[in-house]
């Protein structure tokens, strides 16, 4: 036993023990522990294996920069791989498993790669595994993939829920340590709306690990007092367990709150994680500073830890990582750690100081070795000693923990996420944030101020400036009193010379100093190249500990200053954020809004099978008893429409109503065909182009009064056409006097088609709808029996005598029911979009299966609709380009299988008989196909090069994807009733 729980002290609640489990071992900790502190208390320092060499690794830090202590927490579908034990709040029943080891943490077969490390240094894989080519996917890559990676993801449905929220404030303070607390307090007292976010589960930051007194009380008591005051203020929102992960345009911050990550069974009524988008007038980063590791031989052995982390474990959690701690330092922080640990009764084996002289006070009786370096560590899965080199002499110092302290780096991540580059400060030997904008500032240690009093003061000062800027009056309160403070200086040491074994820079990705040397030798000396070639800084910690040392080492090797090397780019996320939190509730059925027709319930009542169509659910067909396949239902519906009558819900069509003296002119410019002279009471088919001359959408245009029109669009393009019309009206022709709005949702629309359609309709409509009174393409207001005002259109998408009846949406159900009732005598049936599709296909009418964004009106046989006389319309000019008018363009044709028993399927391509398939020989493709119950065989529409000249030709319908070839006859696309007699009946 080396690591243990101190008998007293710390902020854990010793009266509330928690049991948890690590790799199957039942262990105990306290409320207030992290998993890491509890593991240390149980003498479990070894927690994982490294990425490449599978070396045993222990806990290094006490916070979010942890590279080693990654575990999988939680059972089954609730397991979270790669969780940092150092930030995981302990809870009763927590189960954690170590990662990247097989068969066990103690004995890992993968560790054999450590023996081969000479051969598998940085970038080795670029130079080998090239021969034979087939073996890469079969052998090498699976081996690499299996060895790499860390945690295992179960890829099961997540039982937890997530949510999102906006928040608005005058000041967002990021970080709840001494600086952040004072800043929040100052701003809050001045009346600003303040949000204080901190990633820890307890606010206070470094104050929770501090032994210094503030205003005569322990630092954590001071923190609690400030938090209590903040909590009581109505203008303050405290967000503990909340990581601000990104700074975005307009001073919007992304933050994730771990609402219930610290319980075994989250409450179902609460989200497990919540993403905040914080809109902040001002933001203050009080994110502190990161202690740097030292790069020395054997620095990755379990038991080598950050000196500051040792302090935190002892002071905040009441645990000792060992009984005999050696310190390797280049500045005062190492001494402070030694003093704190010594005060807790932990033996200090020695302090090794890389500097020749220092004012820092070592604990009484402690041996200090100056101008010295650690060159190696000893021990198997735990440090048992370190080799100290001084003036050429080596000495083995026995210890069970090595605390390392390499100086400080301000945490400037967020400030540099929007393109600004960090700036090197000689004075601080660190990269600091550039001046990024008046709306985001840094304070305290994040600003390079490392003393406690300095941090408290800077928090107040920065908050006061911000308050004044925003027009608030900050109070001039006295600063809290702190005791005497040590000089926080250090002398940068990027690499401890004379390493006897691997000196790691990036622990997690197993990048050691020699890898950087190799990268430089091979021409990868640029900091980005070095990162990408060695993978330094690319692990789950994103180089929070390692990057600065890599820069320093590269600078040293290149003989330049760190400023000349620069840093790699800081990007979101500050620490990793779950997919689930970022996705929030918009998943599964909620991934996109659901739109339902006003006749949805009517369709459901009539047994419809629904199908997704954009945001809509549309009725596909209405199966009846005995029908085994959709095809059977569809065939029946089609035949019934052709023989009797059918009704179909077409409410999903886009409907736009226009008014104004220029409405006709507006539509005339919008559609390629002429509409100016459309008579009142008439509908006309309309075709709309894009400005590049290709078909945009089609629909009907009805003139309800001189200055009143109603246009319909396809379901798919309803939104797009509306937007296009708004663009034309607002941007292109703002002076046209026209107003319009979408009425898609206001009207339920029903198609009634079939030879008996008029008979059915007449039962319902007061007005005379005989062919004389209401001929083909008539459109206008009618009154239904009972008095309901409706709109009736004599338009047909089936080739049959047909009407479309529009009624206010709320009456849709009642009217549809009524139609079914009165229609029973006429053998009416409900039909769905599948039958609708077959009916239009039999008539050769194009839909968006044909209008694929690459066809002209002429391609679809609609060339004569394009008015040659109009001065202007959208798409006119570019329609005349050579490529859009060339004779060899593909044109819409009909296709019938020569052997009528064969089927043709959409997506097949067309080939001349006897020609070999090739891109050059490709003659066209099949856009739509179906079985035609009216004809008793399959039919299809397709596009064929110069197709209209080729009616009668035999062509191969080539569907290699489904291994099917069918010979078809090219024909006119209108299969049924080309004379349109039925429609005019």
């Amino acid at each position: 036993m080396t690591a243990y729980r101190l008998t007293t002290g710390g902020l854990v609640d010793r009266s509330r023990a928690l049991s948890f489990n690590f790799d199957g071992r039942p262990l105990r900790g306290f409320v207030g522990d992290t998993l890491a502190s509890a593991l240390i208390a149980n003498d479990q320092l070894l927690v994982g294996r490294s990425f490449k060499y599978h070396r045993p690794r222990g806990i290094v830090s006490a916070g979010p920069s942890e590279p080693n202590a990654l575990v999988t927490i939680g059972p089954g579908a609730r397991s979270d791989p790669n969780t940092k034990a150092t930030v995981a709040e302990l809870y009763a029943g927590l189960t954690a498993r170590s990662q990247n080891r097989w068969p066990s943490l103690g004995f890992d077969i993968g560790a054999v790669s450590d023996l081969l490390s000479l051969f598998i240094g940085a970038g080795f894989y670029y130079k080998t595994f090239m021969w034979p080519a087939q073996l890469w996917e079969k052998l090498y890559e699976p081996l690499i993939r299996r060895a790499a990676g860390f945690g295992r993801v179960v890829l099961e449905r997540d039982p937890d829920t997530y949510e999102k929220s906006w928040a608005h404030c005058d000041l967002l303070v990021v970080g709840g340590g001494p600086t952040g607390l004072m800043a929040a307090l100052t701003a809050a007292r001045a009346g600003l709306r303040v949000i204080l976010a901190d990633e820890d589960f307890r606010l206070g930051g470094s104050l929770l690990s501090e032994t210094q007194a503030i205003d005569g009380a322990p630092a954590h008591v001071f923190a609690d007092r400030v938090v209590a005051e903040l909590q009581a203020l109505p203008n303050v929102t405290l967000l503990p367990r909340t990581t601000v992960f990104g700074w975005y345009d307009d001073n919007v911050f992304g933050a994730v709150e771990r609402v219930q990550k610290h319980v075994a069974e989250p409450l179902a009524k609460l989200a497990t994680e919540r993403v905040w988008r914080v809109v902040a007038r001002r933001a203050l980063l009080a994110t502190g500073a990161e202690e740097r590791p030292l790069v020395f031989g054997g620095n990755d052995r379990p038991g080598v830890m950050m000196a500051g982390a040792l302090r935190t474990y002892a002071n905040r959690y009441g645990v000792a990582a060992g009984r005999s701690v050696a310190i390797f330092t280049n500045g005062s922080a190492g001494y402070q750690a030694a003093r704190d640990l010594h005060a807790k009764g932990i033996a200090i084996a020695a302090i090794v100081d890389s500097r020749a002289a220092a004012e820092d006070a070592a604990p009484e009786g402690t041996r200090v070795i100056r101008s010295a370096s650690v060159v190696d560590t000893k021990g198997r899965r735990r440090v048992s000693g370190m080799v100290v080199e001084r003036s050429g002499f080596e000495e083995l110092v026995a210890c069970d923990v090595v605390g390392m302290s390499g100086g400080w780096s301000p945490v400037i991540h967020l400030a540099c996420q929007r393109g600004a580059k960090p700036v090197w400060s000689d004075q601080l030997s660190a990269f600091v944030a550039p001046d990024v904008s008046g709306r985001l500032r840094l304070a305290g240690s994040a600003n390079g101020i490392y003393t406690l009093s300095g941090c408290l003061g800077d928090g107040v000062a920065k908050a006061s400036v911000i308050a004044s800027e925003l027009g608030f009056k900050p109070a001039q309160d006295a600063l809290p009193e702190t005791g005497e403070e040590a000089d926080p200086s250090f002398t940068a040491l990027w690499y401890a010379p004379g390493a006897k074994s691997k000196a790691f820079v990036d622990f997690q990705n197993d990048v050691h100093a020699k890898d950087l040397g190799l990268a430089l030798r091979e021409g990868f000396g640029h900091v980005e190249h070095a990162k990408r070639y060695t993978t330094s800084g690319m692990a789950t910690d994103q180089g929070k500990l390692s990057n600065i040392n890599a820069v320093g080492i590269l600078a040293g090797m290149r003989g330049v200053k760190p400023a000349d090397v620069g840093t790699t780019t800081f990007r979101p996320f500050y620490t990793p954020v779950s997919f689930g939190a970022l996705a929030g509730p918009a998943r599964d059925k909620h991934a996109a809004p659901i739109r339902k027709s006003p006749l949805h319930e009517w369709a459901r009542k009539n047994g419809a099978t629904f199908v997704e169509a954009g945001l809509w659910y549309r009725s596909a067909w209405f199966p009846r008893a005995g029908e085994k396949t959709g095809r059977e239902s569809v065939d029946r519906e089609v035949l019934n429409v052709r023989a009797n009558a059918g009704i179909c819900d077409v409410s999903t069509l886009g409907k736009i109503e226009l008014f104004g003296p220029d409405a006709a002119e507006f539509l005339n410019r919008l559609y390629c065909n002429t509409l100016l002279k459309l008579p009142v009471g008439k509908a006309r088919y309309g075709l709309m182009l894009r400005e590049d001359g290709f078909v945009h959408d089609d629909g009907t245009v009805s003139r309800l009064a001189e200055e009143h029109f109603l246009v319909t669009t396809t379901t798919a393009m309803a939104g797009g056409v509306m937007s296009h019309m708004e663009y034309c009206s607002q941007v292109l022709w703002p002076d046209l006097k026209v107003r319009f709005c979408s009425v898609s949702d206001q009207w339920a629309q029903i198609a009634i088609a079939g030879p008996k359609a008029r008979g059915v309709m007449q039962q319902l409509v007061e007005d005379d709808i005989s062919d004389e009174a209401f001929p083909l393409l008539a459109a206008g207001a009618v009154t239904l029996k009972g008095g309901l005002k409706a709109r009736l259109f004599r338009i047909s998408f089936s080739g049959e005598l047909a009407f479309e009846l529009a009624v206010p949406a709320g009456f849709g159900m009642a009217v549809a029911d009524q139609l079914m009732d009165v229609g029973r005598a006429f053998d009416i049936c409900a039909y769905g979009v599948e039958a609708l599709n077959v009916l239009r296909l039999e008539k050769g009418l194009a839909t968006h299966a044909e209008f694929d964004g690459r066809v002209t009106p002429d391609d679809c046989g609609l060339g004569r609709m394009v008015s040659p006389h109009k001065a202007d319309f959208i798409g006119k000019h570019l329609s005349s380009r050579y490529g859009l008018t060339a004779a060899d363009r593909m044109q819409l044709v009909g296709l019938k299988p020569v052997d009528r028993e064969k089927d043709i399927r959409a997506g097949a391509h067309l080939l001349r008989e006897g020609m070999k398939p090739s891109t050059l020989n490709d003659q066209g493709w099949v856009s739509s196909a179906c079985f035609s119950p009216s004809l008793g065989h399959h039919i299809a529409l397709g596009f064929l090069k110069s197709g209209r000249e080729r009616y009668g030709e035999r062509i191969v319908v080539w569907d290699k994807l489904r291994d099917q070839e069918v010979v078809a006859e090219v024909c006119d696309p209108v299969f049924v009733d080309p004379e349109k007699a039925r429609m005019k009946a």
């Binding site: 307009d250 988008r277 607002q730 570019l878």
Partner: protein, 92 residues
């Protein structure tokens, strides 16, 4: 930009309420204009690194097309004006 747009009709609204149509500096040529003028209008873009004018439609709000003047490098928004007003001022 990118996060928030101040709609002159609706106030500060999040980006996802808007749909972006594209370059707002282009003038639709007269129907009789040259092939080149039409080609340039439909296909050629100045694509500046710096200030640009773009049409954003407030589809989740007032549905107006707005002319957003912003910087394509810093993402700073300099002005937002109603598209119709902009069009009238610029001689459409």
């Amino acid at each position: 930009m990118a996060s928030l747009i101040t709609c002159p009709h609706c106030g500060v609204r999040p980006k996802e309420e808007f749909a972006i149509r594209g370059d707002a500096s282009l003038l639709r040529p007269a129907p009789t204009a040259s092939d080149e003028a039409w080609h340039d209008y439909v296909y050629v873009r100045a694509n500046p690194r710096g200030r640009t004018l773009e049409h954003w439609q407030h589809v989740g709000g007032c549905r107006r097309f707005l002319v957003v003047e912003r910087d394509t490098f810093t993402h700073e928004v300099h002005s937002v004006t109603d598209g119709a007003a902009f069009a009238r001022e610029n001689g459409r």
